[in-house]
Structure formats: structure tokens, C-alpha cells
Symmetry: C2
Subunit: 162 residues, 2 copies
DNA sequence: GTAGATGCAAAACATTTGCATCAGT
DNA sequence: ACTGATGCAAATGTTTTGCATCTAC
């Protein structure tokens, strides 16, 4: 974790940005919640626990900056907010989301499902792919089981997006 | 085109909604611009040409309704706005987007690229897929050619999303 | 000291809602 | 007359911005 911060610090310096305490605190929250898909406000509330004086605007500016430097990923699940997730170094863009339309849970697939598909698109459409976003909407295993057991659709708790 | 409107009219009536002049005008704009990915305001501006008195709220309400009835699709390219596109009847969800990061143009692929992938996800993760969204970000053929010819990155006109 | 970074409040922007009015059956 | 639909303006919620202040080199 510390090494990752160090590496980001270098990356920032290379672009003549500074790793301020606020930026570091924001990055730490992101790193500590790597599994989640936090909104800017989520991040802000978490950062405030250790840095009570940080402003929401700073969090937004930090997230925007990290996003531009491809340190984090800005994603959008179609509810009104942007969400942010750490981007594994080295790992290409092989990382997709499974969103349950019943309970709202978000799972991830860390596999490259699209190698062949990308090749096909590159060749067939002469489109030079840099990145992709793939999201599946459906019913997660848990909700399928609940439905089977209770014979009724399970509890809906949207905006969970854990 | 007229038949499509008729069919939607039935679909609305089946759900005890009415096909009002405003709703019909909105649908016509959507049908006339089936290739585009219009935002709510885009639609509003176009509808106003023939129905100058229509309110933006009505357009929003219509788009929301049509979306719920799966007549149109609400999509999100990550800029701040929702975009809407007609949903081909019969066609499943085999329809993906190629977004050029240089010129902002949006192309579509009307092919089912994910049949195998979906099967794999269904089996491996026990996730019952209902729908998916696949977007490729990259450089379109035109921009590749311009770059090659001029040796410099081509004109950037984001928010085009044609 | 200079340039970038911050916090706050205000602004901007997309979208939704309340409500009085209107239209179609 | 009733019910749903509309237009407008106001409200909402997220994100951005202006600006004075602060911080680090």
C-alpha cells in the first residue's frame, strides 16, 4: 500500500502535481475500499473521518485529477452519480461488472472476456480500441436462491452498489 | 414508421397510458433520428420545431415512460447526460457502441458479440443475465487516417455523439 | 515569493416534482 | 365529471467554479 502511494507520488511529480495530505488521504480511502464503487460523496465521508476539514470540492478535484492520470477509473452505473475505483497497475482493462437488478449488488469479473471480441472489432471496423466498458445486468446467485426458496422476489435494496 | 407508432399506441393503451400529441411528437423525433444518441434536451429542441409549446419536463416524462416500457433505451456515455435511442423490436440486446475519444463520434455494432461470453458468465458465476452494455473507447477509422496523413492528432469535437 | 492547492460559498447543470390547468373519454 | 397529461416554475442533487487564503519549495 505504501509503495503504491509512493509510485503515485512519483507519477504526480512527473506531471508537476503535488501529493498533498488531502490527496493522499483520498487515495488511501480509495485503496482501503478497493472492492467498492464509491461515489464522490462516499469518498468524502470516509476521508473526513481522518481529515475532518477536507472539502467536498477538493475530493472532486482529486478524483478528477487521478482519473485524468488513469490512476483511478470513473465509472457510471446509470444512477445519477459517478463512481470511482482504483485501477490495478499493469492490469489492462480486463475487469467487468455484474449488476444485480434485484438487490443492486455489484460484483466484478477479473477476467479478460473480450480478447477475441476486441480483435474482431479492431479488424472488422478499423476501430483502434483503447479501452472498453462491459456491464451485465441480471440476477445474482443470492437473489436467484432466495427467489427459489421463498417463491417470491427478494428484497430490493438499490443504491447498494457495494 | 406509422405502423411503429400504431404499435406503440397499442402498447401504451395496454398499460392504460395515452398516446398524446406530445408523446407522439417525441417518438417521431426519436424515430427520425434513430442513428443518433440524443440527450433529453436534444430531443426537446427537435420536438419544439413542430410543437413549439412542449415543455422540457414533458419530454423527460415521456422518455422516462418509454424507457420503462422498453420502447427506448436510456444509455449513458459518461458525460453528464442520459441519451436515448430507439429499441428495435424483436432485436435482443445485441447492439454495442464504439466511441471515438478523438472526435467523439459514436458508431454502433449491430452484432451479437457476446453470445459465448454470456454463456460463460451465466455458468461460471451463476449470474442470470438479462441485459448487457458494452462500449469500446478508441480511435475511429477516420481519425486514424487523419492522424496518419497529417501526422498530428485530428480535430477534437467532443460531445458530438452523433 | 511564486505557483499550485484548499475551503467555502455560489453557480451551473441535468433532472424531478408540485401544482394549477387542460384534454379526452 | 374524472383521470391522466401538460407546462411552468421551483426544488433537488451532483458537480464545477470563483476567489481569497494557505502551503511548500
Amino acid at each position: 500500500m505504501q509503495e503504491r502511494i509512493e509510485r503515485i507520488k512519483e507519477q504526480l511529480h512527473n506531471n508537476s502535481y503535488k501529493l498533498t495530505p488531502q490527496r493522499e488521504a483520498t487515495l488511501r480511502v480509495l485503496l482501503e475500499n478497493e472492492q467498492d464503487h464509491l461515489s464522490a460523496e462516499d469518498v468524502w465521508l470516509l476521508v473526513k473521518k481522518n481529515s475532518p476539514d477536507i472539502g467536498l470540492a477538493t475530493v472532486y478535484r482529486t478524483l478528477e485529477l487521478m482519473s485524468e492520470l488513469s490512476i483511478i477509473h470513473k465509472i457510471n452505473f446509470g444512477d445519477g452519480v459517478s463512481r470511482y475505483e482504483f485501477r490495478n497497475e499493469g492490469a489492462e482493462h480486463h475487469h467487468h461488472h455484474l449488476i444485480c437488478v434485484h438487490c443492486g449488488a455489484v460484483d466484478e469479473i477479473h477476467e479478460d472476456l473480450l480478447g477475441e471480441v476486441e480483435k474482431a472489432v479492431n479488424d472488422k471496423f478499423n476501430f483502434h480500441i483503447l479501452d472498453h466498458r462491459l456491464t451485465f445486468h441480471g440476477i445474482c446467485q443470492k437473489c436467484q436462491e432466495t427467489a427459489k426458496r421463498e417463491g417470491s422476489p427478494p428484497e430490493i435494496k438499490l443504491n447498494h452498489y457495494g
